[in-house]
């Protein structure tokens, strides 16, 4: 139970620190926790099972739109929306995985299909009036726990931290179970995996389902934090690319590297945005590009690999 204990400790520390942060600090906290959750979810499929997705925005967006539309149109609590979002994300992940992997497509083909599906979803939503079409959906501010809205940013810190914790628990549980070895075997060598009795297609579908469900959990929290969603912000390709970049920079092979990548890159982006005060929009993408190249060149195993090597060297 050691990793679970460590996780509990980290979460407790973060929860204790959050109230003492400035409003801006809490804003960064929420963003890091939410983006970090998406990155961790992405990493289950992309890092642990080795199937690169370019379309995780599909899950985030589906979750955000489902809970928001249910709340606005039918008055259904976002809490129920949250649960339904996870179900929808899991179902979409499984469906996407099944249709692609059953045909023995993987690698770049899988990446392209995920990209295409997310883009299709974006364009469909942009034309459906119930979902606000291209204008998006605004959620009226009615702060209460029942509405998953909070009066202070601190509430959102805890909500985002909760999602992050769920993702971390799932990852640790997978890593310690047979499923962890199934993912490992599939990632490392599919022929060997099959020869060892592992159903490769089934394993990938399960990875996609879990990954999709966790990513979808982020949607409703994000929507209720910003109180506004539109197709670009939750279904746009940027969301998918962010998850991938954070994971690569943090370290693909590791369980929690993607979170480390998020912790470094999200504040950096926000800082840049503040410094440039709205000028040079999109400059953070250039910064991402430069950092990505540097990491690939200097630390192929990501920041996590760099860190664990440094620790190993100090011990030696």
């Amino acid at each position: 139970m050691k990793p679970m204990l460590a996780l509990g400790l980290v979460v407790a520390v973060l929860a204790a620190v959050a109230p003492f942060l400035s409003i801006y600090g809490q804003h960064i906290f929420v963003l890091v926790a939410l983006y970090g959750s998406v990155a961790l979810a992405w990493n289950i499929l992309g890092g642990m099972a080795g199937q690169m997705s370019l379309g995780h925005a599909l899950f985030v967006g589906a979750g955000a739109y489902l809970s928001t539309a249910l709340y606005l149109n039918l008055g259904i609590s976002p809490w129920i929306g949250l649960v339904l979002a996870a179900c929808l994300g899991g179902a979409l992940g499984a469906l996407m995985g099944y249709t692609v992997f059953r045909r023995k497509l993987s690698g770049v083909y899988f990446a392209l299909v995920t990209l295409a599906l997310a883009e299709m979803a974006l364009h469909i939503v942009s034309n459906v009036s119930v979902l606000g079409a291209a204008n998006g959906l605004a959620i009226p501010a009615r702060p209460s726990l029942a509405n998953l809205q909070f009066t202070s940013k601190l509430g959102y810190c805890y909500a985002a931290l909760a999602v992050l914790t769920v993702a971390a628990i799932v990852i640790i549980a997978i890593h310690r179970s047979r499923l962890g070895y199934v993912f490992l075997a599939i990632r490392e060598n599919e022929r060997s995996a099959a020869a060892l009795g592992i159903d490769v297609v089934q394993g990938k579908v399960i990875a996609a389902a879990i990954s999709g469900a966790l990513a979808a959990l982020v949607g409703p929290i994000y929507a209720n934090y910003v109180l506004f969603i539109d197709p670009e912000s939750v279904l746009g390709v940027t969301v998918s690319i962010d998850a991938l970049v954070f994971s690569f920079v943090g370290g693909l092979g590791s369980l929690f590297g993607p979170l480390l990548g998020t912790v470094v890159l999200v504040p950096l982006t926000e800082l840049l945005r503040g410094m440039l005060a709205g000028r040079l929009a999109g400059i953070h993408l250039i910064v991402y590009g430069v950092i990505l190249v540097l990491v690939m060149r200097l630390a192929p195993r990501g920041l996590w690999g760099l860190l664990s090597d440094a620790i190993a060297r100090r011990r030696a």
Binding site: Y181, L184, E188, R191, A194, A195, L196, G197, I198, G253
Partner: protein, 244 residues
């Protein structure tokens, strides 16, 4: 009288016009070691891939333990008790030797109380326990071959298909593998071995099946098969009568 453990009946595999395997039949009893030999291009590997589920036969049937397994996917065969190794070793390179074998223990999805202990026991059987913590990529070739065997053994097979586990090894390393294989057979696991190392396959096998040009050309005791004119011709070519 019980049915043979493995029955290969009139199995053919065509690739376009090429008959890589052509109407091959043979049986393999439990506790038996059968060697599958033949010159390069004889169709051994194709037959091997067909039995292990990686290639579907064009015609014919394969039964295991009285059950029709023709065209079953590899993971299902592994769960039924057919393990295999790969000619070109395919370890999970970036994880430890022990983790490789744990994947083999857990792969077939059966009940186990302590997968790591079970994996360690398997490593001891192939004399690789002292390398348990090493990354698989850092093993030497003979060690990788043994890891390949260990991982297959970890699935608890009743039949183990070995594809050239001795290729590229020195005579001393081959002896080591032969001792390990003899141990495995003593545990009651049947073996089907594709191999080019004649010394090893002659002494290990109870029976040999010889293939050439996709067909079975001989079957029997190693000594008998070795003296068979058809086998000699397949390996050495037709003797030129009356030349000089």
């Amino acid at each position: 009288m019980s049915a043979p453990l493995l029955q290969v009946r009139n199995v053919s595999r065509w690739f376009g016009g090429l008959r890589a395997v052509d109407e091959v039949s043979f049986n393999l009893e439990s506790h038996e070691i059968v060697g599958l030999i033949g010159p390069n291009g004889a169709g051994k590997t194709t037959l091997f891939e067909t039995i292990s589920g990686f290639i579907r036969p064009t015609k014919g049937a394969v039964t295991f333990d009285g059950r029709d397994i023709t065209g079953h996917p590899p993971h299902r065969l592994a769960r039924l008790g057919i393990g295999r190794t790969f000619q070109i070793v395919q370890p999970f390179r970036d994880v430890s030797v022990l983790e490789n074998v744990v994947a083999g223990v857990l792969g077939p999805n059966r009940e186990t109380s302590d997968p790591r202990a079970e994996a360690m026991a398997v490593l001891t059987r192939v004399r690789l326990d002292h390398r348990a913590g090493v990354l698989a990529r850092n093993l030497s070739l003979p060690e990788k071959k043994r890891l390949e065997i260990a991982r297959a053994l970890a699935t608890r097979p009743r039949l183990l298909l070995l594809d050239e586990v001795m290729a590229g090894l020195t005579p001393a390393e081959i002896d080591e593998i032969m001792v390990i294989l003899a141990d495995i057979r003593r545990e009651g696991i049947a073996l089907l071995i594709v191999e080019h190392v004649m010394r090893a396959i002659m002494s290990l096998s109870d029976r040999l099946v010889v293939m050439a040009n996709g067909r079975k050309i001989a079957e029997g005791l190693p000594a008998t098969v070795a003296a068979d004119p058809a086998v000699i011709e397949a390996y050495l070519g037709r003797r030129h009568h009356g030349a000089a």
